[in-house]
C-alpha cells in the first residue's frame, strides 16, 4: 500500500468514495465468454477500467515433455500486460511482478479444476491485461475461471475474486487505483462460492485482527455478487438462443 499523501478525499462525510461508490459497492463489471476464435476457451472482462482477455488451451500434450506428470494434469498460467496497458509504456518482457501474479493466479485456480482426469496433459491459461486498473489480479482471476469453464475443463466450482481494503479507517469493498495508492490496506481474495473456500488471499497494508476478519468477510460478499455475473456470462454464451 502506498499510504502516500494526497489531496484526494477517499471517503467523504456521507461515506461516498472518490469514484462515487458506496463502501460496499462494486465497480462496473462486464464479462463475456467465448470471445476468441482459436482458443479452446476464452473470456473478456471489464472490471472498473481493467480490460482483460483470457485464452485457455488444453488439456493438451506438455512441452517440454519432462514437465508432464503421469498422475495428473497440470495447470500453467501466464499473466501479461500489454505495453499500452499502463500510464508509462511497459516493456513487453515479463516483469518479476507479472511472474509472481501468474503463480498466485495459477494456485488460486488449481483448487477449482479437476486435473486428475487428464494425466500427462497441461491446461494453459494466457491472460492479457489490455488496460490495467486497481484490482487487475482479481479481474484476471474472474475472467480466467470463466475461460476455463468455457473450455469445458471439469471444475468443482468457479473462482470469484474481489478485493476488500481499508481507506480513511473504513473497510470498503473493491479497492480502486487511487484507494490502492493512498489507502491503508488492500486485500485481494479469491473464493469458491459453492465450496465456501478461499483460494487466493494476499494483503498489503496494516490491519488489526478484527479488521482482517471483516475484510475477508466483505470480500467474500463481493465474490458472491461477481459469481452471478460469471454464471450469466457462461449462460449467455451457451444458451444464447434458448433462454432469451
Amino acid at each position: 500500500m502506498g499510504g502516500a499523501k494526497t489531496d484526494i478525499i477517499l471517503l467523504n462525510e456521507s461515506d461516498i468514495r472518490c469514484d462515487g461508490r458506496k463502501i460496499d459497492e462494486l465497480r462496473k463489471i462486464i464479462i463475456k465468454a467465448g470471445v476468441l476464435q482459436n482458443a479452446n476457451g476464452s473470456s473478456y472482462i471489464e472490471f472498473g477500467n481493467n480490460k482483460i482477455l483470457v485464452g485457455v488451451f488444453g488439456p493438451r500434450d506438455v512441452h517440454p515433455k519432462h514437465l508432464a506428470n503421469t498422475n495428473t494434469g497440470i495447470l500453467r498460467c501466464r499473466y501479461h500486460m500489454s505495453p499500452f496497458s499502463v500510464d508509462e509504456r511497459k516493456n513487453p518482457a515479463p516483469s518479476r511482478r507479472e511472474i509472481e501474479i501468474s503463480k498466485v493466479i495459477k494456485e488460486a485456480l488449481e483448487p477449482s479444476v479437476i486435473l486428475k482426469k487428464f494425466p500427462r496433459t497441461v491446461v494453459d491459461i494466457f491472460i492479457e491485461v489490455l488496460q490495467a486498473d486497481g484490482g487487475s489480479r482479481c479481474a484476471a482471476l474472474n475472467a480466467a475461471s470463466v475461460a476455463l469453464a468455457d473450455a469445458g475443463i471439469p471444475m468443482r466450482d468457479l473462482v470469484s475474486a474481489c478485493a476488500a481494503g481499508k481507506i480513511a479507517n473504513s473497510i470498503v469493498l473493491d479497492v480502486n487505483n487511487e484507494e490502492d495508492q493512498f489507502g491503508q490496506a488492500d486485500m485481494p481474495v479469491g473464493y469458491m462460492p459453492n465450496l465456501e473456500k478461499i483460494t487466493l488471499i494476499q494483503l498489503d497494508g496494516i490491519l488489526t485482527h478484527n479488521e482482517y476478519a471483516t475484510c475477508i468477510d466483505v470480500a467474500i460478499q463481493g465474490c458472491k455478487t461477481i459469481y452471478q455475473i460469471q454464471k450469466k456470462a457462461l449462460i449467455d454464451k451457451f444458451f444464447q438462443g434458448d433462454i432469451k
Binding site: 476464435q37 480490460k51 501479461h80 505495453p83 499500452f84 492479457e128 488496460q131
Partner: protein, 267 residues
C-alpha cells in the same frame, strides 16, 4: 506439413484452378475489415482491427524522449508486434522469433517509409528533446496475414490518436493542459499478395498462408505510389507477377484507405 495439410493444399489448388478460393472470396478480395478505435483509454490512441478472423489490438503511447544521435531534428517512431499466446495453440510465450521480428520490422517500415507521420514536427529542442511515438501491436487471434492486420491496426491507432503537448521549461519537458493531433502527411496501406502455384491472391487466410509458395507485402501511400515492400517465403516471382502485384496493391489499397480514413481524428 501433416497429411491433413497436404490434402488441404491440394484442395486449395484445385479450387484456384477453378478460380475459387477456399473461403469463397475472389482472388483480389480482402476479407472484411472491422475497425474499432479508442478502446484503451490509457493509450493516446488505440484500435482493434478484425481482418476476417485475424484480430489485432494496437495502442499508441506518446512521451518525450532523447532523439537518436544522428537524427536530432526528428521525433522518434517505433512500431512493434507481438503474437499473444492466446491467439493460436502453436504460439509459445517467450522472446520473439525471426517471424515476429520480420513482421514488426515490415509493419514499422511500411509506416515509416511513407512518411505517414511528419516526424520533423515532433521536436521540442533540436538534438536534445523530441517526442517519441510508440505503437505496439498485440495479435489476439490468428487467421493468417498478420502483416496487413497489424499495419491497419497501427495506422488506425495513429490516425485516431491525440497528441499531448509539451513545452520545455529549464530543459525539462512539461506537459501542458491541451491536446493536439499527430501530424499526418499520408495514409499508408499495406496489401499482401500470396503466390500459390501461379495464382496471385490478396490477403491469404491461415489455410492459404500455410501452403503458399511466396508472398509480397506492398505498402502504398495516398498518392498511389509504392513506398515499401517485402518478399517472403521459399518460392519466387516472375517479373510480370511483380508488376501485377504492384497494380493490385495500389488498387486494393485505395479501397482500404477509405475505410482507414474514417478513423482520422480532427483537431
Amino acid at each position: 506439413m501433416t497429411i491433413l495439410d497436404e490434402l488441404k493444399k491440394h484442395k486449395i489448388l484445385e479450387l484456384l484452378k477453378n478460380e475459387k478460393r477456399i473461403d469463397g472470396r475472389n482472388f483480389l478480395e480482402p476479407r472484411s475489415i472491422l475497425i474499432e478505435t479508442d478502446l484503451i483509454q490509457k493509450a493516446n490512441g488505440s484500435a482493434r482491427v478484425d481482418l476476417g478472423y485475424t484480430s489485432v489490438i494496437a495502442g499508441v503511447k506518446i512521451q518525450p524522449d532523447k532523439p537518436f544521435p544522428d537524427l536530432g531534428d526528428k521525433g522518434i517512431f517505433i512500431c512493434t508486434a507481438e503474437i499473444l499466446p492466446l491467439a493460436h495453440p502453436d504460439i509459445e510465450p517467450g522472446p520473439p522469433g525471426e517471424d515476429v521480428i520480420e513482421l514488426a520490422r515490415v509493419v514499422d517500415r511500411g509506416i515509416r517509409e511513407t512518411n505517414m507521420i511528419d516526424l520533423s514536427k515532433l521536436v521540442l529542442e533540436k538534438d536534445k528533446s523530441v517526442i517519441g511515438i510508440f505503437v505496439d501491436n498485440c495479435i489476439t487471434d490468428y487467421d493468417g496475414n498478420l502483416f496487413d492486420a497489424c499495419s491497419y491496426a497501427a495506422t488506425a491507432a495513429i490516425l485516431s490518436s491525440d497528441l499531448p503537448v509539451w513545452e520545455l521549461k529549464n530543459d525539462q519537458p512539461v506537459l501542458l493542459d491541451k491536446r493536439s493531433i499527430i501530424p499526418i502527411s499520408t495514409i499508408p496501406v499495406s496489401v499482401t499478395v500470396g503466390l500459390i502455384d501461379s495464382y496471385l491472391i490478396v490477403d491469404p487466410n491461415a489455410d492459404e498462408w500455410k501452403c503458399m509458395d511466396a508472398r509480397i507485402t506492398i505498402t502504398s501511400n495516398s498518392e498511389g505510389n509504392v513506398c515499401a515492400l517485402q518478399k517472403g517465403g521459399y518460392g519466387s516471382f516472375t517479373y510480370d507477377q511483380l508488376l501485377e502485384c504492384s497494380k493490385i496493391a495500389i488498387s486494393v489499397g485505395s479501397k482500404i484507405r477509405k475505410i482507414l480514413k474514417q478513423h482520422k481524428k480532427s483537431k
